[in-house]
Amino acid sequence: MSLCKDPPSNLALIIDAHAHLGAFRNFHIPGHDADGLIAAMDSFGIDRTVLSAHAAISSDVRRGNDETTQAVRAFPDRLAGYCVVNPNYPDEVAEELDRCFASGCFVGIKLHPELHGDYPLDGPGYQPMWAFANDRRLPVLTHTYFGGDRIEVIELLAQTYGDSQILIGHAGLDLGLDQVAAAVNDHDNLWLELCGALSFRGHVEVLAERVPVERLLLGTDMPFINAASQLGTLLFADLPREDIEKIAGGNARVLFERSALP
């Protein structure tokens, strides 16, 4: 491990709570494999990355989860996996979760309802997943977007599956700042993952004022997008150093320790 921990990334721990792996059909991504991710992490000072494979969110979910397994086994001290479930194969969801978590390579679950046909988060295809996550107190990272479920649906799921930990992807940018902040304040098991919000200066500062800073998580979406611009925005944010430390990695350590992040 040869992390570049020079300032400004000389934090004790940096964990990327939202990343991916592999090719994506819609555009060219140079260096999208595990070696490419590790090289970028080393350069940016990222210690650990929790990822799901593009193939899992956009194509054959089993094939994609296998790619994640292989990457984690290649870099067990740097990478951990989100198991992706595809609600369009509802009869296979429970089996795929068992298969993933039996491997020891996964620490959470990733949902991409947009790429799975705008599938509703509270639809029957996701029910086995919510039960599984609730039983094991797992983090569940869900993509959010303009056309997806509103924050009220996520709130109801947080209430119903109160032992799961729901990470609202992209800080719920498309769901309304006031509504998202209120939801996080009302539900102890809702977290905001920041990739996308970190594309703009000032968003993380506002979120840190509006919700407990302990519920904010660095995410980069690497290699979907470049991690440096997201992380760099956090590192130069107008926040106390201790808050930046928490958002960059301290909060994620607390969250993922429950699911055995190596």
Partner: protein, 260 residues
């Protein structure tokens, strides 16, 4: 090492557009952020030129940066045919001779842009003047997230004005399949690092096309100047290439005194 030059910043009072972020930036605040982050010079336009009226905004800009040697004014242009904006024959006296070294246009038709065709029959005279003066043109299509530029329009400008440096901001993460053929074909095309969100993107672009096709840009205060600098400083490229991207390329394009 060349000076670190940010190709894209703005000053003024913005309408906001989003409920969070910075809506008002003074020259002093811009200079303070440049000092905090480590940027020596910055190209700057006035947000009133973007949001309201280019003629008014350009005048506000030139007045604001008149005694600021670290700030390079970037004028915003419109076509002249309606009488809303000066004729291109007046660019030299009213813009270039007053310190403008780069210009920008926002030709897209959406409500936030200036809605004009970036084509010879509408903007050709302006492009010819810019090309003759070698004044770089930033084409801002107001891109965000999954958008892409109108590539045929960009290709036409590059083909018809081969000596005009064209700088594209906000290319986003998804457009290499269109960008690369243009970079191959037209050496006058340059990419702003701002909004070029491709993973390993700077590295791959430098490997394929050389270190002179990218310039540091932040979009500050909408975007993070520190984040933009971090993006380039941690790119896995040779230090000589990094120096060019951080400032050398822009110094050459703008013909600043420290251009090598």
């Amino acid at each position: 090492m060349s000076s670190v030059i940010d190709a894209e910043t703005w000053i003024g009072r913005s309408s906001g557009g989003t409920p969070v972020g910075v809506h008002h930036l003074t020259v002093d605040a811009l200079l303070a952020e440049m000092d905090r982050v480590g940027v020596d010079r910055a190209c700057v336009h006035h947000v009133v030129a973007r949001e309201h009226d280019p003629t008014t905004g350009n005048e506000l800009l030139l007045e604001a940066v008149a005694d600021q040697p670290r700030l390079v004014p970037v004028a915003t242009l419109l076509p002249h045919h309606t009488g809303e904006f000066m004729h291109p024959r007046d660019y030299r006296e009213r813009l270039f001779d007053r310190g403008v070294r780069m210009v920008r246009v926002q030709p897209a038709a959406d409500l936030h842009s200036h809605r004009f065709p970036l084509r010879e029959w509408a903007f050709g005279p302006a492009l010819a003047v810019l090309e003759d003066a070698r004044v770089p043109l930033v084409i801002d299509f107001g891109l965000f997230r999954r958008a892409e530029p109108p590539w045929d329009t960009v290709a036409a400008v590059l083909a018809e004005h081969p000596d005009l440096p064209v700088i594209l901001p906000e290319i986003q993460a998804r457009n290499n399949r269109s960008l690369y053929p243009l970079l191959e074909r037209y050496p006058s095309l340059v990419v702003q690092s701002q909004g070029y969100f491709v993973h390993n993107g700077i590295e791959d672009l430098v490997t394929r096309f050389g270190p002179d096709r990218v310039v540091l840009a932040s979009g500050f205060p909408t975007k993070s100047m520190g984040g933009a600098l971090f993006h380039v400083e941690r790119a896995l490229i040779a230090d000589s290439a990094r120096d060019q991207i951080l400032g050398g390329n822009l110094a050459r394009l703008l013909r600043l005194e420290d251009a090598s």
